[in-house]
């Protein structure tokens, strides 16, 4: 876990993950971007990827399944959900499955920045 600032970005919209990757670069955070649940599970490396931004609504495997499998691989993985419409039910469910927080679509970059600071910089520091 040397490079704790490496993040996995999972969203079925190519451009979204591209923007997010670009944005993370501002804070010197490297990332791996994938556009499906299968890819996410294929590339996920528990050694390097402490943080995952995960879209819930994806075409083949949905976010919940990916979340559960990620947790199976690495119970300590910190997953932040990217939610299109954050209804209470799904958020509660995601939280129960181990997600630490969520950001909403359309992504507000200042909100995204706050979450980055809160979990990746401060959270890591406090740990």
């Amino acid at each position: 876990m040397n490079d704790a600032k490496h993040v996995l970005l999972v969203d079925d919209e190519e451009e979204i993950v591209a923007y997010m990757e670009n944005f993370l670069k501002r804070f010197k955070i490297s990332s791996t971007k994938v556009t499906s649940g299968e890819e996410a599970l294929a590339v996920y490396d528990p050694k390097t990827m402490q943080f995952v931004f995960l879209d819930l609504h994806m075409k083949t495997i949905d976010g919940f399944t990916v979340l559960r499998k990620l947790k199976d691989i690495n119970p300590d993985v910190k997953v932040i959900i990217i939610a299109g419409s954050p209804d209470k039910d799904s958020m509660d469910k995601a939280r129960a499955m181990g997600a630490i927080d969520y950001i909403t679509k359309p992504i507000d970059l200042s909100d995204f920045k706050n979450k980055i600071f809160k979990y990746i910089f401060e959270g890591q520091g406090s740990k």
Partner: protein, 715 residues
């Protein structure tokens, strides 16, 4: 006892019964005079009976003198009845006729010149011997009867159609009766012909004519007369021929043989003659009865209630040709029978209903069979306030429960409804009730189908909207991130090149502008996102949201207003929220949201539509207002939506909650399921209530009542 005595007794008895019946059933002055006529005939008959029983000339003479009063008056009453029947009113002549009857009655009682004494006739009867006055009396009596027949005949010539036929039979019957009756005069003058057989015709004449006139409506005079006429002629032959044969040959074998043969053939001949005669007489009636029966059997094919009712009244009116035909159907909602279809020569104004409590309805429920105006008890007749004459009333029952009735006016040709007519209407009413039930069933079935369809439609709209919303959301993500990027880019540039920017006001201004537009972009993206989410929530109505919760109406209204502003392309929605108490409500948020959205949308469109009916001056003064008020009651929460829009026309009010009903002309309006869905959400899902009050041109207030507690059987 002699034949004469028996005959007199039967006649007197028959007259007594008839008098009672006539008097009890009388509806016209004509009937009163008829009753008097019967009294006088009966009076004479009983007198004649007593005469036959008298054992001495003196008591016989006295009886004759009293009895003759009846004879004097029966001619006058007959004359009077004829005048009434022919609608002639020769006042002086009538007065004179009554006067002479009185004079001769007095003379009969007092003068020996009327009856001078008695003589034995037919072996045992003391028959009065006429005096001079009696000849005068006889002449006047014959003249009165003759004049009556003349009146009848001249009226008969002038009359037309059914009336003419009716008069013809009346003439035939009276001619027969009086020719038989007049034979009673013969023994006075020493003539021994026909008498006492002649008297038999009086009884029959009396029975036929009086019955026919009384039961004018129930029994066609011509049919009654024809049937009885055929019957009498035939049986006169059946009995007369053997009698005559027996009399001539003095052989009982021959007469018995004839009697047996004729008595066997009699009923068969009677039947075939009767049917032939009636076919001739009733051809017109049979024609429309055939049409009605055909119509009745074809009715079950019609499944649209409105069209069915229209069809019935049209056929009935056309076939029977009456003043009007109207159908009333039960309406449970208003506890009354409502006029649903009418064909009338005189137009009927406004909504016509008969409450369950109406005496006529009560009478119908007891009676159950079709009835004539004459059969309605007088006290009910008085309380009726239907604008047209009710001639025939035909109730429709289905499985013992009344579903409605048909009301018919008088026939245009003034004919009465016959028993056959009534039987046809009975068949028609049974068929009608089945067809109506059938229609109601089909319509209910259709409604059920429509509900399923509406639900499916909503679900498909929901699915579509979700897909579209997802796509839009993805686009919004790009906008959001790009504008976020822009802002961050500018911010970081300003941070790293603070001095440079400070020194260059132009540059500073440009960067500040960049920040401003990026922020504006972000906020617009957020608002658009809110709208998309709103659409998504709206479409999700039928989705499985089982969660009841407490939430604020304000919240739901704000969400609806976002959508409505977009829908109508307006900045300000003319709404006032009037919170008398807390606006906390309990329910399924998405469903309440959709209901509120629909109600506010309707209210707003009503204010737009109102402008169309205002003059330009009024438009300048018109301020659209939509008011929502919330009040908390112990068990429920009451929300009222009032607008000063166009309102709902009376005729449309009952259709408001029907699926696929819309008064909105604009292409923006939906399929007309809004209010239907709202009603189902409020009443079926929330166990609440929804109703409205509206006045066209003034506005509408819709009230929604929601229970505060969750009740079983929710969504």
């Amino acid at each position: 006892m002699s034949y004469f005595a028996i005959e007199s007794f039967v006649l007197g008895f028959a007259c007594a019964i008839l008098t009672v019946i006539i008097f009890y059933n009388r509806t016209r002055f004509l009937h009163t005079v008829w009753a008097l006529f019967n009294i006088s005939v009966g009076f004479w008959a009983f007198g004649a009976l007593i005469v036959t029983l008298c054992k001495d000339p003196y008591s016989a003479l006295m009886t004759w003198r009293i009895t003759e009063i009846g004879v004097a008056f029966l001619a006058v009453f007959f004359f009077h009845v004829t005048c009434e029947l022919c609608e002639l009113y020769p006042k002086k002549l009538l007065t004179a006729a009554y006067a002479q009857a009185i004079v001769f009655s007095i003379l009969s009682l007092t003068s020996n010149n009327f009856f001078s004494g008695t003589k034995i006739v037919y072996g045992s009867i003391y028959y009065a011997v006429p005096g001079l006055y009696f000849y005068a009396f006889f002449v006047i009596w014959m003249a009165l009867v003759g004049l009556s027949q003349y009146f009848l005949f001249t009226t008969y010539i002038k009359s037309q159609g059914f009336q003419q036929k009716q008069l013809l039979y009346f003439i035939a019957a009276t001619v027969a009766g009086f020719s038989g009756g007049a034979t009673n005069f013969f023994p006075h003058f020493g003539l021994k012909i026909v008498y006492p057989i002649g008297n038999t015709t009086i009884i029959l004449y009396c029975v036929i004519v009086t019955y026919a006139i009384l039961k004018y409506h129930l029994l066609d005079l011509k049919v009654a007369v024809t049937r009885v006429g055929i019957f009498l002629t035939l049986y006169a032959l059946v009995l007369g021929i053997p009698f005559y044969v027996g009399f001539k040959t003095d052989s009982w074998i021959w007469s018995t043989t004839f009697a047996v043969c004729l008595a066997t053939l009699g009923p068969l001949i009677y039947r075939s003659l009767r049917l032939k005669a009636e076919d001739l007489l009733l051809s017109e009636q049979r024609r429309y009865q055939k049409i009605l029966i055909q119509a009745a059997s074809g009715m079950t094919k019609e499944h649209n209630l409105e069209r069915l009712l229209e069809l019935i009244v049209r056929i009935v009116k056309k076939a029977v040709k009456m003043e009007y035909a109207a159908i009333f159907l039960e309406d449970n909602g208003i506890e009354a029978y409502r006029l649903r279809a009418v064909r009338s020569d005189t137009p009927l104004e406004g909504e016509i209903i008969f409450k369950y409590s109406d005496p006529l309805i009560q009478f119908m429920k007891i009676h159950k069979e079709p009835f004539l105006f004459e059969e309605i008890p007088p006290e009910i007749r008085k309380s009726m306030n239907f604008p047209l004459n009710i001639s025939l009333f035909v109730p429709s029952f289905y499985d013992d429960s009344s579903i409605g009735f048909m009301m018919l006016g008088n026939k245009l040709n003034k004919k009465a409804y016959s028993i056959d007519d009534i039987n046809v209407f009975k068949i028609l009413s049974r068929q009608t009730s089945m067809s109506i039930e059938n229609c109601i069933f089909v319509e209910e079935f259709k409604k059920a189908q429509e509900r399923v369809f509406a639900a499916e439609k909503l679900a498909s709209i929901g699915g579509l909207a979700e897909g579209v919303a997802h796509q839009i959301n993805n686009r919004l993500n790009h906008f959001s991130m790009v504008s976020g990027e822009l802002k961050f880019e500018v911010d970081s540039f300003l941070e790293s090149h603070a001095n440079l920017v400070e020194q260059n006001p132009e540059l500073k201004k440009t960067f500040e502008y960049f920040i401003k537009i990026s922020e504006s972009l972000i906020s617009n993206v957020k608002r658009t996102d809110g709208i998309v989410k709103g659409i998504l929530n709206y479409a999700k109505v039928e989705a499985k949201e089982t969660l009841y919760s407490n939430f604020f109406l304000q919240e739901v209204i704000d969400l609806s207003l976002d959508l409505l502003r977009i829908k109508h392309g307006i900045q300000d929605f003319p709404l006032e929220l009037d919170k008398q108490s807390s606006d906390l409500i309990f329910g399924v948020k998405s469903q309440i949201m959709e209901s509120v959205y629909n109600l506010l949308d309707n209210a707003y469109e009503a204010t737009l539509d109102k402008i169309n009916i205002l003059t330009s001056e009024e438009i300048s003064r018109y301020i659209p207002k939509i008011n929502v008020s919330v009040s908390q009651k112990p068990e429920r929460c009451v929300i009222q939506f009032s607008d000063n829009g166009i309102g709902i026309k009376q005729a449309d009010q009952h259709k408001i909650f029907a699926p696929f009903f819309t008064t909105k002309a604009s292409s923006k309006s939906g399929a007309g399921i809004g209010m239907y869905v709202v009603k189902r959400m409020v009443e079926e899902n929330h166990k609440g209530k929804i109703w409205f009050e509206s006045e066209y041109g003034k506005g509408t207030t819709v009230t929604v009542e929601l229970p505060k507690k969750y009740s079983a059987g929710g969504i």
